[in-house]
Symmetry: C2
Subunit: 326 residues, 2 copies
């Protein structure tokens, strides 16, 4: 017959490790400033006794995608999709051989493509994304994600998401946060796979878009994707997109570049109450990529200065993340 | 000692009425075609054994607002808000005395306002809705809803919602539908009160919008509402707005006018699987208003013809609703 003490000891020996594992969030994050900042914030806004308590309906968290939830080097993944589409469509467009940025794509000159700037890239992307119905575009996107591989890491793009960030999404959801992706990328490029990869519903994705037009074709309604920009969800466009789509101010935001600066400002400054802003700083040349203020893609310069001024959390990937990819 | 039969009888006598009440949906709807159509559809898509079963994540329902969830006569309620704003702002705009549709507003000539057409009305609305921050506009809206009364029914506007439709929203939610409002009205005009009145979250409202612009004002981020149309969520704009905002095709849609025709087509035709489209037909001159193809506001003409062709459910308010308002 066991004594009470023996029973308790047995219980602790066998079950405590399991219990500890179950309650320890963010296992791929090293114990450090960023992990502690996140946990402190979530604890403060979810403890009913806290003066910083926030009603679950107001727990809106927004995440940039490129460079924040997955990699964005040597170029935005959507750009590789667009470049593959350009190659497929080139036979019908002989003029592309001498027109930038198409020429650069056909010559495989990624540097020249990047040099066309964010607007040039978006133009390239939008042009190759139009001329079909929305349903057809979903099929094209899904097919590409099934077969395409990253040019240097040689993996499917949806495997190049950051494991520590997936854990952060889970941790926030477990604490009744509603998560939105707010990306400069095309909203219809992301929606077909975000649910499977991030657990984020299609209706919780805000992104850039091209104009679509409703038509009845032989009695069947379709939406035609037009080669015309509708909205660029980047920089000052991000708070606009957040307000237009969500209609509430987030209390938690994560980005990685100057394109996210206004979103981080909108989330943290002047809204009242406790707020969190985080920046993923790409410092890991060995395991991922190292870049900030001199990068064409995901330039991080002003936002890093503002982070220092405003007490935002800056994640040093190399020091703070145990692993990068799942 | 009671027999089993006695126990069962007692149980039925005391608990059956309660039980029956709990499982009978749509109590304000008379038993009839529309109620049966709705229940049949919901039963079909939620029964796991049904060949029409739909995964809860795909149970997207969209509702028009004006004339579908609340009244819209003698004019859209947002128009009364705009007219009150015009009167407040008129001192600073002497030119309005001789400019339509402002002149008509200042002269209280609702007919002339209506005659300026949907586009004229939207212009009027948008003009009076700009020139402040989004936060300031929320305050203005909330204040107006607190004090304003309908000109003929003399009730707060948020009390002029249709009780049978509130029950329908509850019934769908109880069956794991996610409900979106898809309205020609301004998205920021609706968001401050839809949660309290309809139980619909602000992020589940799609509507017309004006341009907003991000600015830092003395270190505080603001969104300024500009006097420029951004998007009209009406007619062919409704499927565009649904696709842009939700990114999935609804399986259930309810409207009341030709402005909803394309939304009903987009929901029901060519998407595959079982779909539902409903139209509220305003037939009750005594308890609400009676109008269809000859009305300036909420004209119902083509959509009624299409309803007949496509087997959509047309609700005869007078015959099918026991009560109109809560």
């Amino acid at each position: 017959m066991k004594t009470l003490l023996q029973s308790l000891t047995l219980f602790l020996v066998f079950f405590f490790p399991l219990f500890a594992f179950a309650i320890s969030p963010l296992p791929s994050w090293n114990d450090g400033t960023s992990k502690q900042d996140i946990i402190n914030f979530v604890t403060a806004v979810t403890s009913k006794s806290s003066s910083d308590y926030v009603d679950p309906r107001e727990r809106i968290a927004v995440f940039d995608n490129d460079g924040t939830l997955w990699s964005e080097q040597p170029a935005y993944f959507q750009l590789f999709f667009a470049m593959d589409r350009v190659k497929n469509m080139a036979a019908a467009h002989p003029e592309w051989k001498t027109t930038q940025p198409f020429q650069a794509v056909l010559e495989g000159d990624l540097k020249a493509v990047a040099a066309s700037g964010e607007k040039g890239i978006l133009e390239l992307v939008m042009t190759t994304h139009a001329g079909m119905t929305t349903d057809e575009f979903v099929d094209i996107t899904k097919e590409w994600f099934k077969t395409a591989r990253h040019p240097t890491l040689n993996k499917p793009y949806t495997k190049l998401v950051f494991k520590p960030m997936l854990e952060l999404l889970d941790y926030l959801r477990a604490n009744d946060f509603k998560i939105f992706i707010v990306s400069g990328g095309g909203v219809e490029f992301m929606r077909p796979w975000v649910e499977e990869v991030y657990g984020v519903l299609p209706e919780q994705v805000v992104g850039s878009s091209i104009v679509t037009a409703f038509e009845m074709r032989d009695g069947t309604p379709v939406l035609i994707r037009k080669p015309k920009l509708d909205f660029i969800d980047d920089k000052a466009g991000k708070p606009v997109g957040i307000n237009q789509h969500i209609g509430r101010r987030p209390i938690f935001a994560f980005g990685n570049s100057d394109g996210d600066l206004q979103m981080l400002q909108w989330t943290t400054l002047g809204g009242g109450g406790k707020r969190f802003a985080g920046i993923v700083h790409h410092t890991d040349r060995e395991r991922e990529f190292a870049y900030d203020k001199d990068s064409h893609m995901g330039r991080l310069d002003k936002a890093l200065v503002e982070a220092g001024k405003n007490g935002w959390t800056v994640v040093d990937m190399k020091k703070e993340w145990k692993v990068i990819y799942p």
